[in-house]
């Protein structure tokens, strides 16, 4: 570890996790998370106001924990980075205000960064310098995007994204149909392991004209509806629902589309690296199929460990450190939180 490398603290509060990470250059020192997911489970989904209240309570204790884990004091920081968007407006504002308070109190520069670019940058602390350009598939409850990334600190291009539900949202909704608790992803993954892919569910936007118009876009709403209808018809007929087979077949449909389009995008843009991030990247079938298809296509696959794929503060710190290392100008202390920050705007 290089002692001169910038020490950067990153704050992430775009959804229901209060994340604080600390990075020195490209080395991860701390990644602390306070999650309000248990509170949201009672509501069957993320409630923005519940998330925001939890962020206010958890903010300072999580900063404190991160410093303790990293063995650093706040006064040692060289910069502070924060997710300024996209995300839940009220939740973002707690993190942005806290990051500004740190920057102001400590007299260090502040970097307001894009949540999606951070998901790409986090792999630097896991697998070393990012090969650029890289192609990134980001899949979670909030996003499903294919990105071309020539420079993670200032040039991120969107090739496609979901036109309806995010991939993780489809997992949550189908899990509910199958009587599984929120969040549904891990439950579907577990159930699918004992099931077989015997049901042929639709693959949205993968054929004919759709592949012209929506080449790298995704659609999971039709798939979700098809699964609900199939389960409802089965229940109406009085027969038991083969939960494991439904889960496996649904998961296969999602993962098939995601990996097929990601590999196609790599080929067409001449990119030899694919990175997967976001909460759905924890899905075991997605990891397996991506590995298989990337290998067949001669593409190097990079997937951070599951804890770094879900929302966290380390990813924000990792991108912040790259901003410092590459000499980017700091953000203004008046930077706003922008709930609909476009993916192409890396810094605000």
């Amino acid at each position: 570890m290089c002692p001169d490398a910038p020490l950067v603290l990153g704050i992430e509060t775009s959804c229901d996790e209060t994340g604080v990470g600390i990075v020195r250059g490209e080395a991860l020192l701390a990644d602390e998370i306070a999650s309000s997911v248990d509170e949201h489970a009672r509501f069957g989904g993320v409630v923005p106001e519940v998330a925001s209240r939890a962020h206010l309570e958890a903010m300072v204790p999580t900063i404190e924990r991160a410093c303790r884990t990293a063995g650093v004091a706040l006064r040692d920081l060289d910069a502070v980075a924060v997710t300024s968007g996209p995300g839940l407006a009220g939740a973002l504002m707690v993190g942005v205000a806290s990051a500004k308070a740190l920057a102001l109190s400590l007299g260090v520069p502040l970097y307001g960064v894009n949540h999606l670019a951070s998901h790409v940058a986090v792999d630097i602390v896991e697998h070393g310098p990012l090969p650029e350009p890289t192609l990134a598939l980001l899949v979670s409850g909030g996003h499903s995007s294919l990105l071309l990334v020539p420079d993670v600190t200032h040039d991120v291009r969107s090739l496609g994204s979901t036109i309806d539900d995010a991939a993780g949202e489809a997992f949550d909704k189908v899990a509910r149909v199958l009587g599984m608790p929120f969040p549904g992803g891990p439950h579907i993954d577990r159930a699918a392991r004992s099931g077989e892919v015997v049901l042929d569910f639709p693959r949205g936007l993968t054929t004919g004209r759709d592949m012209q118009r929506y080449r790298f876009d995704f659609s999971f709403s039709g798939l979700k509806t098809a699964v609900s209808r199939w389960v409802a018809a089965r229940e109406a007929s009085g027969e038991p629902v083969p939960v494991a087979d439904v889960a496996a077949s649904f998961q296969e449909a999602v993962v098939d589309v995601l990996t097929r389009k990601a590999v196609l995008a790599c080929r067409e843009h001449g990119v030899g690296h694919l990175q997967i991030g976001g909460g759905v990247a924890a899905n075991s079938r997605l990891r397996a199929m991506a590995a298989e298809r990337c290998e067949a296509a001669g593409i190097e696959l990079r997937v951070p460990r599951p804890g770094l794929c879900t929302d966290n503060g380390a990813m924000v710190a990792a991108l912040g450190a790259q901003m410092v290392l590459r000499g980017r100008t700091a953000s203004e202390l008046s930077l706003p939180a922008d709930s609909s920050l476009p993916v192409t705007v890396v810094q605000s």
Binding site: A97, A101, L104, P336
Partner: protein
């Protein structure tokens, strides 16, 4: 002693400084711009007074009640600054601050010192959105220690203005309630928003008196959502 006050419970993003005697304050009216403008406002106030963040000895935040998103920006800013600077953070109900502004001549005029009027009642009614107000009723009276004190006669609450007791609505009323509902609050006090300097001074007085000033947000409303159990029960 140098205390920074931050309040974002009313329409003003309000900041102030108090050394126990002298106060300075600044504010910006932007009900949606808390996250954007608060930190620069604090920075400018400190710079304008020739002090640095490291000179602060305590921070006091307005704990509301107020619209949630804005309220949290002020509170998390105060809490984080306190942690980063290693100084204690205290909380004061934002309606208490408006009541002081209304019932202390010095506070109202911005003069140094703090002297409550010998008697008087005030209703504080601020904008709670959704056609409701946050409100509380205060009176100047003798505290148990014999000094004049501002006594809250009700707990802070949120209600439709027409549902407040009629005799209370007749009192001089501080806050934006009378601007929003002039028919229901016929005696506007002319004070609209919290003043950060008064908040900072109240923090100094509270510390002098050894008062407990917990930093608990006063939401007064639960989040707008039904649990799955409640949805099931309602069906």
């Amino acid at each position: 002693m140098l205390i920074l006050g931050i309040d974002t419970a009313t329409s003003a993003i309000a900041v102030g400084l108090s050394d126990g005697e002298r106060t300075a304050s600044d504010r910006r009216i932007d009900p949606k711009g808390h996250a954007e403008h608060l930190a620069p406002l604090v920075g400018d106030l400190l710079a304008g007074e020739g002090v640095s963040p490291g000179d602060l000895t305590a921070i006091v935040v307005g704990t509301g009640p107020g619209p949630f998103t804005g309220l949290r920006v002020g509170m998390v800013t105060g809490l984080t600054m306190g942690h980063a600077l290693g100084v204690p953070v205290h909380g004061i109900c934002s309606l208490d601050v408006l009541a002081h502004q209304a019932l202390c001549d010095e506070c109202e005029s911005g003069r140094p010192g703090h002297r409550l009027r010998t008697h008087g009642d005030v209703l504080v009614a601020t904008d709670a959105r959704r056609k409701e107000v946050y409100w509380a009723h205060y009176r100047v009276g003798g505290a148990p220690d014999g000094r004049q004190a501002l006594l809250p006669l009700t707990q802070p609450a949120v209600d439709r203005p027409a549902d407040l007791p009629a005799d209370l609505r007749e009192l001089p009323t501080a806050g934006r309630g009378p601007v929003l509902y002039p028919d229901l609050f016929p005696h506007p006090g002319g004070l609209l928003d919290v003043d950060g300097g008064v908040l900072a001074r109240l923090g100094a007085l509270g510390l002098r008196d050894g008062r407990e000033m917990p930093v608990e947000p006063l939401y007064l409303r639960r989040p707008d959502a039904l649990t799955t159990a409640e949805r099931g029960a309602g069906r």
